[in-house]
């Protein structure tokens, strides 16, 4: 079993929902980012780390801003790998990365996945690579034993989902709303029903993200069969507001969402 499988198996046994914070690597800068990630790794079940990108079209304003801050602070693809390598020295938590296609493509697809392996990354999600374009990425992922995390939405038809579950690994990342990250809404009933539908088609764990920020959302997701929640924009907003030298605020925030 790899780290991701182990984590979800463990969480399931405990009857809990996996807590999966998302942060942008190098935000607000390299050292702070590493420090925050180290702290979060002790209070969550899986870390999702974003490679900052100039044109993150699946993301809302909060994450785009964080991307810009990180890039301005000098974040590069190599530095993100270095950061994760450093983090990996201190923790065995599963780490997945969210990275836009062009960054993977420019590094060289094969080299990207090799570097990911060397940095101790367990899964890669490329939000702008749908099933139709996945094959070249999948080949490299398989070669380096990296899980291919796949993004789905309620617009994904059962027929597409069947194809997708054949190539998806680790967990399915379901967007809570049809939209971009950080959209603050109650979880639509459609999403909750959709979770049940997916469960009939696959045994992959389902992690729900996009706009998760309060306990009532988390409860609803749990009751309807979700296996994990991804907390991104709301956490990043908190880092922007609070003093990052005091990570207790972040820990408390995550603890309050634990269910």
């Amino acid at each position: 079993m790899n780290r991701i499988e182990t984590a979800f198996t463990h969480i399931k046994k405990e009857g809990k929902l996996a807590m999966m914070p998302f942060l942008v690597a190098g935000f607000p800068n390299f050292s702070q980012s590493l420090k925050i990630l180290k702290v979060l790794s002790q209070h969550s079940d899986l870390l999702e780390i974003g490679f900052p990108y100039s044109d993150p079209l699946a993301d809302g304003p909060v994450i785009q801003k964080a991307d810009q801050v990180a890039l301005k602070a000098g974040s590069t693809t190599s530095k993100v790998f270095e950061l994760i390598k450093n983090l990996r020295l201190t923790t065995e938590i599963p780490i997945t990365v969210l990275v836009y296609a062009n960054l993977v493509y420019q590094r060289g697809i094969e080299k990207f996945y090799r570097d990911a392996r060397n940095a101790g990354i367990d899964g890669v999600l490329i939000p702008d690579v749908p099933f139709e374009e996945i094959s070249i990425f999948l080949k490299a992922a398989k070669k380096y034993n990296i899980d291919n995390i796949y993004l789905i939405a309620t617009t994904t038809t059962p027929r597409r989902l069947n194809k997708i579950t054949k190539v998806a690994q680790g967990y399915l990342y379901l967007t809570s709303v049809v939209g971009i990250t950080g959209t603050q809404k109650d979880i639509p009933r459609k999403t909750l029903q959709y979770i049940k539908q997916i469960k009939r088609q696959t045994r992959l764990p389902i992690a729900v993200g996009f706009g998760i920020s309060n306990l009532s959302q988390v409860k609803k997701l749990k009751i309807n069969g979700a296996d994990g929640v991804i907390i991104g924009s709301s956490l990043i907003k908190l880092i922007q507001k609070s003093n990052t030298n005091n990570p207790q605020t972040l820990i408390n925030f995550l603890k309050n969402l634990n269910y």
């Binding site: 044109d55 693809t77 062009n102 702008d128 749908p130 939405a153 994904t156």
Partner: protein, 388 residues
Amino acid sequence: MKSYFGKFGGQFVPETLMPSLLELEKAYERFKKNESMQAELKKLQRDFIGRPTSLYFAERMSKATGQKIYLKREDLAHTGAHKINNAIGQGLLAKFMGKSRIIAETGAGQHGVATAAACAKLGLECVVYMGEVDMERQQPNVIRMRLLGAKVVPVTSGSRTLKDAINEAIRDWITNIETTHYMIGSVLGPHPYPTIVRDFQAVIGREARSQILSSEGRLPDYLVACVGGGSNSVGLFHQFINDSKVKMIGVEAGGYGIRSGKHAARFAGGREGILHGTKSFVLQNADGQITETHSISAGLDYPSIGPEHVFLRELGRIKYVSATDEEALSAFRYLSETEGIIPALESAHAVAYALKLAKKLPNKKLIIINLSGRGDKDLPEMEKGLKI
């Protein structure tokens, strides 16, 4: 339908959009075969857009250069540029698909105005995303869009130009996918857009080909067009692709000059990459972060280019060059004074290169320049630069 042109193109979009792209592709196949839709498109092209646009013999310019230069007058199309060809086409397609809301991005504002006009005509709701920088430099078009009933949303992220307007439009589309058709304005974006937009713009070349045959009795030696995303150029070139003797030249925005690094000449400073749903040629840094571009012309100020262009360039069928801001400005003035036609700053890039080319060529070559739009929208900016 093929989603790639050689190895360029594809569908690099979030899963959320895929079902809609597949739906669009299917609907477009039906739309092409639907006789009443095609008849309506023809009627709108004639009565609303004012097609065919003329192929105008630029007599004084020809005399001055020793060549025979024709201008394909897309500036005479309704709303003042070729963009309306695509907007009316996609507007009909959207109605055919039962979509009630249209979103679009715009750089120079020409696609925005065309979209707003098409939506007003066809009774569709219209939202246009436009970078703040572009709103400033193309103010007249902002007013026109609003008059035509469109909501213009200023985009304040990133470089606040066309690239960022596209990001915002895609975000809107992801969020409102069920009701909304995204009307992409150029031969860009994920499949099937590059093909759909090209098909709607190919009317330019079909007309030009028959017009030049009837006035000159032969095919042209050269076709010259400016290339931002690349819709006016592909529109003119497409019908001539198999005429191997017709040379085709695309003119990119050279900005302050290629050496300055401040330009939008993808083939001079870019390399293969993925942006806005398509694999193409992209201006970017070593990591693949998209770099900010510069051009005096908002419509050419974009870091990527339509994937079919990259394919045709690889085949050696189209040659790409660039014209600087300064060259475009001087061509802008030249055409105004010599032919009585004020070109769009975008089209002025094509005129600038054609003038350069005309001076080098042996006499009596037959050249068609695509005059993709008129320059009224650029007047406020020109006032600053040209000291009119």
